[in-house]
């Protein structure tokens, strides 16, 4: 399921995966596996680690994403900042064990105004405040 969530105006993807959380966690946190499905990287699962995702550049995108690890809670939660073309956002993966495997949720939300620990507060406050107004006008934009 892929949505641009109407309640939070963030990008949310949820998938039911027939694999154990520990295995999904490996795919999210081991560099070579991450390269296989997402992008080439120098990721390490350590809070505060700064790393880069690199994809082949295209005319409108240099292919570079600058990131910093914000949360590592195996095997249930992983979060890092995602900065590309001057646009800063936060990507959070949440893994929940189910009877058949794992429910994986990815949320990317924008507009964090401060760095470090205040990322989440800043993002939540600013984003939510902004969205209160945005919700009223979206009807006219579609």
């Amino acid at each position: 399921m892929t949505t641009t969530d109407t309640a939070t105006r963030s990008v949310v993807i949820e998938r039911q995966l027939p694999h154990a959380p520990a295995k999904v966690w490996r795919a999210l946190t081991e560099g070579p596996l991450l390269t296989d499905w997402l992008m080439a990287n120098d990721f390490r699962p350590e809070v505060g680690h700064r790393f880069t995702f690199r994809a082949p550049p295209v005319p409108s995108w240099n292919g570079i994403v600058e990131c910093e690890v914000l949360a590592v809670e195996p095997p249930s939660r992983l979060a890092y900042t995602w900065g590309s073309l001057g646009l800063q956002s936060v990507v959070t993966f949440t893994l929940t064990a189910t009877a058949t495997g794992t429910q994986l949720r990815m949320e990317q939300s924008g507009f964090p105004a401060q760095g470090g620990d205040s990322y989440f507060k800043g993002a939540q406050y600013g984003w939510q405040g902004f969205l209160t107004g945005l919700e009223r006008v979206l009807g006219g934009l579609a």
């Binding site: 892929t2 990008v11 993807i13 296989d36 295209v58 001057g86 507009f111 600013g126 902004f130």
Partner: protein
């Protein structure tokens, strides 16, 4: 993947400041207002409010008009289109990458 145009960058940067977000939110919610009225409920000085409004205006998020000695501002919601566009592009990006993740998981040992 084409993630942004210059205008997108400008819109996001202009929204990255909590004071500007609050100003835009008020204009979206309460309609057109003067700088004086906006300053009365802001936590910063009138010159600061004017400066923030100028940034929002350059990003296409608000419009200004003279009314006698006052300048009145109103929200320009169409200016938010790049934000919607950004979300739609990333939704497509992640959808495609998650397909690849599922493929990888099938190839991995249990």
């Amino acid at each position: 993947m084409s993630l942004a145009r210059i205008s997108t960058d400008q819109v996001f940067k202009s929204l990255a400041d909590p004071t500007r977000l609050a100003l835009l939110e008020r204009l979206l919610r309460d309609g057109e207002q003067s700088v004086v009225a906006l300053t009365a409920r802001a936590s910063v000085s009138q010159p600061a409010v004017s400066k923030h409004l100028a940034v929002l205006k350059r990003a296409g998020l608000v419009r200004a008009r003279r009314d006698g000695r006052e300048t009145r501002y109103r929200a320009h919601p169409q200016g938010l289109a790049p934000v919607i566009d950004w979300m739609q592009r990333y939704a497509a990006f992640w959808g495609e990458r998650f397909d690849r993740l599922e493929d990888l998981l099938r190839r991995m040992d249990p």
